[in-house]
Symmetry: C2
Subunit: 114 residues, 2 copies
DNA sequence: CAAGAATATTCGATATTTCTAATATACAGA
DNA sequence: TCTGTATATTAGAAATATCGAATATTCTTG
């Protein structure tokens, strides 16, 4: 109800609203990784990944731990992973529905008289 | 893993990434409402709400049913409501943690010797 | 302290979002 | 068919997000 809560949710969603950042979180889902490891696994520009990590940090979605030369990132709260898992289920459901619609359309083409 | 899935999730999150759109979805959580009812409850510009509804429609998050003069909107899949509910839990947890941190800081101020 | 490695930040250019105001469309009833 | 009501779309301005290139910072090691 309160505007504050809506804004909070919206800000988290905004932080999640980029394919690269989702890829980052999923890579971190099985444990912490250094920024360098993320850059290597994703095959993208160093600055770019660093900027995306900065967005995730700003919303406190990831934690960062400095170890000597490197910085290790991890997902702060597993609830975020639950959200992503829900999204996967949602995706599967949507794809399933789309498939069924196509099947129906096919049937209509085969039996135009009914 | 696949880029497609990441983009799909990101697009949904993007559609959710606005306080007004979250408010709309929560208003629709207990059943369908006309566009006009949403505009009234939210107290915002007609065009603005219509545009936000358009974003939600584009991602197929809401369904719309025309009835005479009006258009009734509803949430297509309750999974989306589950996502919002998870977000609320997440928010509560974050606030709880922030509170604890403040309490610790207070204690440190009271007992500087320890 | 100098040099290299890992990471972060800054700077512009471009693209996307969001808003308000104005206009368009669709429908209902006289 | 004319009028009013409900909703959608368009247009343009301002704000925000994204990217690559360049630069800065921090740490380690010789």
């Amino acid at each position: 109800m309160p505007e504050t809560l809506h804004r909070f949710k919206a800000d988290i969603f905004q932080a999640l609203a980029h394919p690269t950042r989702i890829a980052i979180i999923e890579l971190l889902s099985s444990g912490e990784l250094s920024a360098g490891a993320l850059i290597e696994k994703l095959g993208m520009e160093q600055a770019n990944i660093s900027q995306h990590l900065s967005v995730l940090r700003a919303q406190r979605i990831v934690a960062n731990r400095k170890a000597g030369n490197q910085v290790f990132y991890s997902v702060r709260d597993p609830i975020i992973l639950d959200v992503l898992a829900l999204m996967r289920r949602y995706f599967q459901k949507q794809v399933g529905e789309a498939k069924e619609m196509l099947k129906e359309m096919e049937n209509d083409l085969m039996e135009p008289s009914r």
